[in-house]
Symmetry: C2
DNA sequence: GCTGTTTACGACGACCGTAATCATT
DNA sequence: AATGATTACGGTCGTCGTAAACAGC
């Protein structure tokens, strides 16, 4: 499982629409479809009920959608915190060159 | 930021030793070094103090190490939960073929 | 017939492993 | 000199986009 998968699935779960979700995620519909299919395969569980025209979450999909948002929020929060710490600690900066001059 | 990065960083933070961490992660040292470097670049913050022979966490790295473990635990828990739900809901299985027969 | 998802296919890029280099003890 | 991390480089796999096929309203 990768964060990319969770981002895509969260976007799809929010809209329940492949086209719109793909557009919001800045990818094409086939790429999203493939990624979701791969996620389902890896999880060994069907996450969506696709009746070709109707997209709805299965119980497992609902759970994953909920968890995905929490996880993605935690990741974003951590990233913000780490950047803040680095910013307040010049010695921990990315390219803090004390330099001889 | 990807989970792969977090897994690698968590493993490295646990041992503070590239060779041992890489071995435990089933990759080579250069691959780990590259992944960590990439993570630092993307985060815009130095996560480790590498004095060539001595590896120690920066404040930002310490924070990320802590967050990474929490996030990875949440991911693992979610995966378990989703699989359990799918297992208890045959209709949500991966290849549950009701079949005409 | 049209909207919307899936499948097929080719190209680009990322990740990993091997080999060589450099630094520290 | 030996250990350990980095850099360079080539191969391979994954991911994405375009094009075509399929299904429901």
């Amino acid at each position: 499982m990768e964060l990319r998968q969770l981002r895509y699935f969260a976007g799809l779960a929010a809209t329940l629409h492949f086209s719109r979700a793909a557009h919001q995620l800045h990818i094409t519909q086939p790429a999203l479809s493939q990624a979701i299919r791969q996620l389902e395969s890896q999880m060994g569980a069907r996450l969506l009920d696709r009746t070709t025209r109707q997209v709805s979450l299965t119980p497992a999909g609902l759970r994953l959608a909920h968890d995905a948002e929490r996880i993605l929020a935690a990741v974003a929060a951590s990233e913000t915190a780490v950047r803040a710490i680095a910013a307040s600690c010049p010695a921990a900066g990315p390219a803090t060159r004390p330099g001889p001059e």
